[in-house]
């Protein structure tokens, strides 16, 4: 006990495994997945095999679950390899986490073993809407009395998934339900500027559903999905920071490596700070989610910090490479597009900080 930021042995081992995988497999695969607008089945299967994308408790036939901090460490590493692929694979398994935390015994029996298969079908957790993304209180989709009604944006795998989870407003606070494939209308695929390896659609939900019990477990489950956004943002930020830092030591101008000029090296320092601050913030939020009762505001803070870092590192990363950053021979322009696209899922400048603010104003003076 006592403040400690050292990962344990299992976390370190997992991080190392995923880092090699990200470096050897995801980095080379990134551009092709982006062009194909989907993530290859072999990659999805391989990540699933490592056990991080859709953790299922052993009693439901899976390899066991792990804590939120470990999840963040794993997601950062995958996203470092490629944010779009990470978003696609992690997003496909998030429903396992939500059902595992918040589902009834019956729901767990019914759905979790399906994630435990060696080659599970993709699913989704649909949260974002046309206006509200980061802010759960403002969701318009209603989930109550066994019916779900509303339009969702950024829904992953909508046309392939046999089932998924929809988050909306319940009678009292957030509500969520499981919907079966075919019970909703895929209105249009989204043609996005970033995260293209993760195919998303606009979906209209209007019909019967299996509601998840509302209450603290459901809130915790939904907050976990926000952490996933933050962790992918963190990996994206670190990728751009490391790549552009290495470039700054190699590229020469005026007879010196460009990193010798403070206009460049200070960007490197600021990216480093952004990454470090995002990671500690995210780990704290994940730890709180696991050990105490993290509030929506705390999670929004951490996710906001990570998304801000991703955008800053994306922008500065391209800037450090200059014209070379703008062309597709280098990955930094992709990471920048990915970062900004990701921020729509939980925009720190718009809604994340407002979620934090509401809790401040509500509690000020006490």
């Amino acid at each position: 006990m006592g403040f400690d930021l050292g990962p344990n042995e299992e976390q370190t081992a997992l991080q190392q495994t995923l880092h090699s995988f990200a470096n050897d497999v995801l980095r080379p695969a990134g551009r092709a997945a982006e062009s194909a607008r989907q993530t290859g089945e072999d990659i999805t299967r391989e990540i699933h095999g490592i056990g991080v994308s859709a953790p299922v408790p052993e009693e439901y036939g899976g390899g066991g679950t792990f804590d939120a901090v470990t999840y963040c460490i794993a997601a950062e590493e995958l996203a470092w390899g490629n944010p779009g692929i990470a978003w696609s694979v992690l997003g496909s398994g998030l429903a396992a986490i939500v059902i595992g935390i918040a589902g009834t015994d019956d729901q767990k029996q019914r759905y979790l073993p399906r994630f435990a298969a060696s080659d599970p079908a993709p699913s989704f957790v649909a949260i974002g809407e046309k206006v509200a993304a980061g802010d759960l209180d403002s969701l318009e989709t209603s989930v109550s009395d066994g019916e779900v009604t509303g339009e969702k944006y950024g829904v992953l795998n909508a046309d392939q998934a046999p089932f998924g989870v929809v988050v909306g407003r319940g009678h009292n606070g957030p509500g969520a339900c499981i919907v079966e494939g075919g019970s909703y209308d895929v209105l249009a695929p989204e043609d996005k500027m970033g995260l293209e390896a993760a195919p998303t659609s606009i979906v209209r939900f209007d019909g019967p559903c299996h509601e998840l019990p509302t209450g603290p477990d459901l809130e915790r489950a939904v907050l976990w999905t926000k952490l996933a956004t933050g962790a992918v943002a963190l990996g994206c930020a670190r990728a751009s920071f490391e790549y552009s830092s290495a470039y700054a030591t190699e590229r020469e101008a005026f007879g010196k490596p460009i990193g010798a000029f403070q206009a460049v090296s200070f960007k490197v320092a600021d990216m480093a700070i952004a990454v470090e601050a995002a990671r500690t913030a995210l780990w704290r939020a994940a730890w709180r989610l696991e050990h105490a009762e993290a509030t929506a505001a705390e999670i929004a803070e951490a996710t906001g910090q990570a998304l801000t870092a991703a955008i800053r590192c994306g922008d500065d990363g391209v800037q450090v490479l200059g014209g070379h950053g703008y062309i597709q021979d280098h990955p930094v322009e992709m990471w920048f597009r990915d970062a900004v696209t990701l921020s729509v899922f939980d925009a720190p400048d718009l809604l994340g900080d407002l979620t934090v603010a509401r809790s401040i104003v509500a509690h000020a003076g006490h």
Binding site: G2, F3, D4, A269, A277, A357, A364
Partner: protein
């Protein structure tokens, strides 16, 4: 090891104790101290008695948790934030070795630690005692390697000559640590640290600065004119004179230890402004305030909180690394670069949120704004921190 964000019970206890002290003792005298530019001696004595060693603002490597884990750096960051939340200028009037401690701890011999830290500060004493660290000179601020102050050996003494400026508590310090060069041709390697004791002839206090903020903290200039000190007052002893002896690198190590605490003070100031503005909005801003204005205020508050919490985590990380004896130069500079930047944003934001009440001297927010600015300057400017961070990442490229 395991990732754990729970504070050790001893740290929680210290945080709560220091916070109470800040509420009951520091805040009430903050405004008056700022206006007068000093604290009455009686108050300084009381501060010393009240806090004792529990509010050490700089790391003490001897402090351990119940589980016998060193937590001196964590105590320093947790305590510093609360003290600065109370009042950053008054906190610098709490008797103790202050910034002299990290350099003596980092570069001094055991005998020197005993003589200059324990004997001077921990024995039964009636009068408040202070320590000081003097690095900056009129022509050398961030460029520490360019100091002109010289130290020449004369038998069993050193003879020091030069001018130091912007030194906190120099005028009343019992122990002043200065850097001086023993051989200009050696550049940085020729720089060593020396301890000057109160009352040494040739140590002359010059002007006391009038500043934008932190007015209640005394900032002095002093000159060294053929100032003779014992040979043994070179930090690290005779070994310091060897090529690999502690000198410039010794200071840098000291900064690794003090920077997280100074950054934590910045977090404390920013948090003070943030909380004050939040309370003000709650009490004074009618709920009927037009939506765009209220929304923009709320968003500003949200950003402040997010950034201040992230800054605190950076301070804690750097301190935790120091306690674990993990090299933390990069992380200490990250904390020191980031915390003053976001705390400054919080102070300006608080003033803007409160409007005319923000710039009014009837509230402390304007004072915190004036106080926070120097945190991005002393103990290494934000720019110097970025030089250190980027060199850690890129290596030396020039």
């Amino acid at each position: 090891m395991a990732i754990d964000f729970e504070l050790d019970p001893l740290l929680e206890q210290i945080r709560d104790f220091v916070h109470q002290f800040a509420v009951t003792t520091l805040r009430p005298i903050a405004r008056e101290a700022d206006e007068k530019g000093a604290l009455p001696l009686e108050t300084i004595k009381q501060l010393g008695q009240l806090v004792g060693n529990r509010a050490s603002i700089m790391p003490d490597e001897r402090v351990e948790s119940a589980a016998k884990k060193p937590i001196g750096s964590m105590v320093a960051v947790v305590g510093s934030e609360e003290l600065a939340w109370g009042d950053p200028a008054v906190l610098l009037n709490i008797p103790g070795p202050g910034l002299a401690a990290p350099s003596i701890s980092a570069a001094g011999t055991e005998e020197q630690k005993q003589r200059f830290l324990r004997d001077v500060f921990e024995l039964e004493i009636d009068e408040p005692r202070f320590g000081a660290l003097a690095v900056t000179e009129p022509q050398a601020g961030s460029d520490v390697s360019n100091v002109q102050t010289s130290a020449v050996r004369d038998g069993d003494e050193w003879v020091l000559n030069g001018t130091k400026v912007f030194c906190t508590n120099a005028a009343r310090a019992h122990v002043v640590v200065v850097n001086a060069t023993v051989d200009k041709s050696l550049g940085r390697a020729g720089q060593k640290f020396f301890v000057i004791e109160k009352g040494t002839p040739g140590f002359n206090i010059g002007k006391i600065e009038r500043k934008m903020g932190l007015t209640a903290s005394e900032t002095a200039e002093f000159t060294l004119e053929d100032c003779r000190i014992p040979f043994d007052n070179i930090l690290g002893g005779e070994a310091a004179l060897e090529p690999a002896g502690s000198g410039f690198k010794g200071t840098m190590k000291a900064f690794d230890s003090s920077r997280p605490s100074v950054a934590a003070m910045a977090v404390g100031i920013g948090r003070a402004a943030f909380e004050y503005a939040g309370d003000w909005v709650h009490a004074e801003l009618p709920m009927t305030t037009a939506f765009p204005r209220r929304n923009s205020i709320e968003q500003k508050l949200g950003q402040m909180k997010r950034e201040l919490n992230a800054a605190r985590d950076l301070c804690w990380k750097a301190a935790w690394m120091a306690d674990c004896k993990i090299p933390n130069s990069k992380e200490a500079s990250m904390a020191k670069a980031y915390a003053p930047e976001v705390a400054m944003r919080a102070c300006i934001g608080a003033i803007q949120i409160m409007g005319p009440a923000g710039y009014s001297r009837a509230h402390l927010v304007e004072k915190w704004f004036r106080d926070i600015k120097v945190y991005d300057i002393f103990e290494g400017t934000g720019q110097i921190q970025r030089v250190i961070i980027s060199r850690n990442i890129l290596g030396r490229l020039d």
